[in-house]
């Protein structure tokens, strides 16, 4: 089990605690926010165990008996970046996984989990597809058998594909086609990435979803849903030995698949600013921009995260204060680093207040970013950003679902789970010079892609 590392407060009597807190606040008030490099947190991840079955299936278990719930997650190493012929296939396939198997009818899996009060869902992104179930402890055996059933015996037929295709097209209308920000993000990815498969929307282009075949689904399943290409994470109130024995019985007979080949494409260097304008019926126009940034795990990642907090972390952040609070030309404005497995983007976007000018919002937003790159940021801002990042890391220790999610993400990206302390140390090591350096390095105008969503102009009278 986990070893206990004391937290700063441990053993400090309440009376002197007041002094500590007061000191902390006074420092903040003077603009010299206290840093917390001395602080150490208990990291439940230290109890993580890993086993690998003969067929290549990896299983990660983390026991936590504080409340009688378990999170069970299957992380398939297939996302939209892995689609070769039909875009949207990884996501469509996620839907197909609920449509029945040899021994269970359509939706029975979700119904059975639902009828125990479990939370069941799945998501697909550019890199992975994840199936997750949160249940009370006594339902874990059910979940294991259900997952083994669909990973082993999925029914991929014309009938199920036909109805689920329509469901996905409704989802596409809802989230992308009838929504200004859906359209904007779709356009921005296609603009920023010319070559890399990250350019396609995860939900796929409409015509591909409409045309995808059963054969393509079967091939996708055989390639990516083999036990050597997914892993299982279980966190919460269960007993690892018995559960692992159950998983061996349930998943052990799945045949190992061929080694998966991935697309070799690397995004070529961008050679100038790119722009697109989308005409759409909106009250609040949108201005969105993206710059190329490094893939996850890069040494500049922590400094980029700190910069994101300085621009958009809370009401004292630069973009909120400048565009929303002072100039009152935007409803919101934010900038942040988004990291993916093979590349990243640094986003900046804002919603223009009705009646205000998109151009003015863009000019002011870019000027704020440029000012930080040219003049640097303050020690106080860096300290504040670090604290916000630390608190959000600690907050995520709260539920078994978030623990399992952290394990799955880190294993997918790095093959191991970075300790909380190493994450905190990375954040703490960032200096204001680092922040300025990464802003200068990545936020260059010729590396920028910009999308506006604005109302269709009134036609000129003849």
């Amino acid at each position: 089990m986990t070893s206990r590392i004391s937290y700063l407060r441990s053993g400090v009597p309440a009376a002197s605690l007041c002094g500590l807190i007061l000191a902390s606040f006074l420092f903040a008030g003077l603009g010299i926010a206290e840093t917390s490099s001395a602080q150490q947190f208990e990291d439940p991840i230290e109890g993580l165990r890993e086993i690998t079955l003969d067929n290549g299936l990896r299983v990660y278990t983390l026991e936590d008996h504080r409340t009688p719930v378990v999170s069970f997650q299957v992380w398939v190493q297939a996302g939209s970046k892995d689609e070769t012929r039909y875009t949207g296939l990884a996501h469509l396939f996620e839907h197909m996984m609920f449509k029945g198997s040899k021994n269970l009818g359509p939706e029975r899996h979700a119904q059975l989990v639902g009828s125990r009060g479990g939370r069941i869902n799945a998501f697909t992104n550019r890199d992975v597809t994840v199936y997750h179930e949160d249940v009370t402890s006594e339902s874990l055996p059910l979940v294991i058998d259900l997952e083994a059933e669909r990973f082993g015996n999925l029914d991929i037929s014309e009938k199920t594909l036909t109805s689920e295709r329509e469901v996905v097209l409704e989802e596409r209308r809802l989230k992308y086609e009838d929504r200004a920000n859906g359209r904007a993000f779709e356009a921005l990815s296609a603009l920023a990435w010319k070559a890399h498969p990250y350019r396609t929307p995860v939900i796929g282009w409409r015509s591909d979803v409409a045309a995808v075949t059963v054969e393509a689904c079967r091939e996708f399943f055989d390639t990516y849903y083999a036990p050597n290409n997914f892993f299982i994470v279980i966190a919460g109130d269960f007993e690892a030995e018995e559960t692992l024995a159950h998983i061996r019985r349930a998943f052990g007979s799945l045949p190992r698949g061929e080694a998966v080949l991935r697309a070799p494409t690397i995004e070529p260097e961008q050679d100038g600013e790119r722009r697109a304008v989308i005409e759409f019926e909106v009250q609040a126009p949108l201005v969105m921009a993206a710059w190329h940034a490094p893939a996850t795990g890069h040494e500049d990642g922590a400094a980029l995260d700190v910069s994101g907090q300085i621009f958009s972390g809370g009401r004292s952040s630069r973009l909120y204060r400048s565009l929303v609070y002072e100039a009152q030309i935007a409803s919101y404005a934010q900038a942040y680093y988004a990291e993916y497995m093979h590349a990243g983007l640094y986003y900046a976007h804002a919603a223009v207040r009705p009646g205000e000018s998109a151009q003015e919002v863009e000019t002011r937003m870019f000027a704020e970013l440029q000012r930080a790159a040219d003049e640097g940021v303050s020690d106080e801002e860096v300290a504040k950003a670090k604290r916000q990042l630390e608190v959000s890391l600690v907050e995520r220790l709260g539920t078994t679902h978030s623990l399992a999610n952290r394990i799955g993400l880190e294993i997918s990206f790095f093959g191991k789970v970075r300790s909380l302390q190493s994450r905190l140390d990375q954040i703490q090591s960032v200096t204001k010079e680092d922040v300025q350096r990464v802003l200068k390095k990545y936020l260059r105008a010729n590396q920028r892609s910009v999308v506006w969503v604005v109302p269709t102009p009134e036609e000129d009278s003849p």
Binding site: P68, Q111, H246, R249, Q283, R315, Y325, E390
Partner: protein, 482 residues
């Protein structure tokens, strides 16, 4: 005091019992898949371990609820009052939402900028939320910053500054937000639905108000709203997380002891008992949309209605339990008409609505509505919930209940929610038993009493011109614009 080992106060259940249950289930799983076995018994752990919840009432009437939990070095605290947007004058709808926003823009010694700097420097979150029945100040952050969080709570509850410049800025943001909401078809559907059902009652406009009403609010309206509802005898202070309860109570006496009680405002007037009185169709015209948003709704239940537990089970069977519900099976799984469909009761101090919402492509709107109505008709007549459906509906509620109470913060949120409606906190512990006691005939009778597809409002957001011929069979049609 810190505990020597991780210990969430929300009852650490017996490991032994856990092992026994797991062993039983796993032992059987070797021969048959688990879905063919009867569900194992659910462990009915106490939600709040005996003695863990500390309740006090200060002499001025301020109720206090504390739930210490030393598993993480975090603390959440706040203060909730038992009145919300429902008491606003209809012509000033949104004054509470504006008040909630401006409370965060300066209180006590700190103006808006100082408050933002202080909260962000701690990585703390500070917010004020309002719904029809309550206003809640909430803060969270590292445990060691607890004293500052308490200052925020105290100052926002007792000494908001309400600077006029901040009120104007916040009003202008609220108006911009309302305009932006017109870009979201789901939001529009919700607004039109409430307007159709409740008209000039306060429930007829969203909590945030509408552009015309927000424009009419004066700074004094904002100040008056705050002083009307923020009375210690109308409030509960709550905290969960890593703190020493005795020390915190002593600090609360310092922060709130000299806060004088006052008269608590009357609750909101009851909305019409039956809305609408006959089936009608309202179309909010959005010519550019390829997808149609659909709602079928009528009056529902009060939050404190004794029928709310069996009603929630009825709703689970119909459309409240995701993939297990009849509507999801029919509309999504079998017909591929939609990505999502759900039903629910909006439980408020006065009866809120019962409604079903979904969306589909324009040419499939009519079959989708027909299917919705026929399923509602069936559950109240030809196909009442059967024994298996009711068992599943109960298991769904009990399981969701446990998952929703995984952290001390979520347990406290539930306790505060009960407090707002004057419901006893032990109703959390009795919840599972009350679910278990509901009978099939009770739910069947309730379906007849509570569901009225024959006189529901059908509200549509979509391209009216294309839709009108399809809508005529459902009742008189009215087209509206925003």
């Amino acid at each position: 005091m810190r505990h020597s080992k991780p210990c969430r106060t929300l009852n650490v259940r017996s490991i032994l019992l856990c092992l026994t249950l797991s062993s039983l289930a796993l032992g059987c799983a070797g021969t048959k898949p688990a879905w063919e076995l009867p569900p194992p018994p659910v462990h009915a752990n106490a939600i709040v371990a005996e003695g863990a919840l500390i309740k006090r009432t200060l002499p001025n009437g301020l109720r206090v609820m504390l739930l210490a939990d030393h598993s993480r070095p975090m603390v959440s605290m706040g203060l909730a009052v038992r009145r919300g947007a429902a008491i606003e004058p209809v012509e000033k709808a949104g004054v509470g939402a504006l008040c909630a926003e401006v409370m965060q823009r300066g209180a006590g010694d700190r103006d808006a900028l100082a408050m933002a700097d202080a909260a962000d420097a701690l990585g703390a979150s500070v917010g004020v939320n309002i719904n029809f029945d309550s206003v809640r100040i909430s803060t969270s952050g590292l445990a060691r910053d607890g004293d500052t969080l308490l200052e925020f709570v105290r100052d926002m509850a007792r000494k908001p500054r309400f600077d006029e410049a901040e009120i104007e800025k916040a009003r202008s943001e609220q108006l911009a937000g309302l305009s932006s909401s017109l870009d979201n078809p789901k939001t529009l559907l919700g607004w039109q639905l409430e307007r159709t059902l409740y008209g000039e009652h306060r429930y007829g406009a969203p909590v945030s108000g509408l552009p015309g009403t927000v424009a009419a609010i004066t700074p004094d309206d904002v100040r008056d709203f705050h002083s009307l509802i923020f009375q210690p005898n109308n409030a509960v202070f709550y905290a969960s997380g890593d703190f020493d309860s005795d020390a915190l109570i002593a600090k609360l006496e310092g922060a709130f002891g000299d806060w004088h009680p006052g008269p608590v405002p009357q609750s909101v007037a009851a909305p019409p008992a039956q809305v609408p009185v006959e089936r009608k169709v309202v179309v909010l015209d959005r010519p550019e949309m390829s997808q149609v948003q659909i709602a079928v709704a009528h009056e529902g239940l009060r939050r404190i209605d004794p029928r709310r537990i069996p009603a929630s089970l009825l709703n689970n069977v119909l459309g409240g339990s995701g993939f297990s519900s009849r509507l999801m099976v029919q509309l999504r799984s079998n017909a591929g008409l939609t990505y999502s469909v759900r039903s629910g009761f909006a439980l408020r101090r006065r009866a809120g609505r019962f409604g079903v919402t979904t969306f589909t492509r324009a040419k499939q709107m009519r079959p989708a509505i027909e299917l919705l109505l026929s399923e509602i008709e069936a559950i109240r007549g030809s196909r009442p919930p059967d024994a298996l459906e009711l068992r599943n509906a109960k298991a769904f509620s009990v399981g969701h209940f446990a998952l929703g109470l995984e952290t001390s913060q979520s347990v406290m949120a539930s306790l505060v929610n009960l407090d707002v409606y004057g419901l006893p906190e032990d109703s959390l512990d009795s919840y599972r038993a009350r679910i278990g006691a509901v009978t099939q005939s009770e739910v069947a009778a309730l379906a007849k009493d509570l569901l009225h597809p024959d006189r529901a409002a059908i509200v549509i957001v979509g391209p009216a011109e294309a839709l009108l011929p399809e809508l005529a069979p459902f009742g008189p049609v009215e087209v509206v614009e925003w």
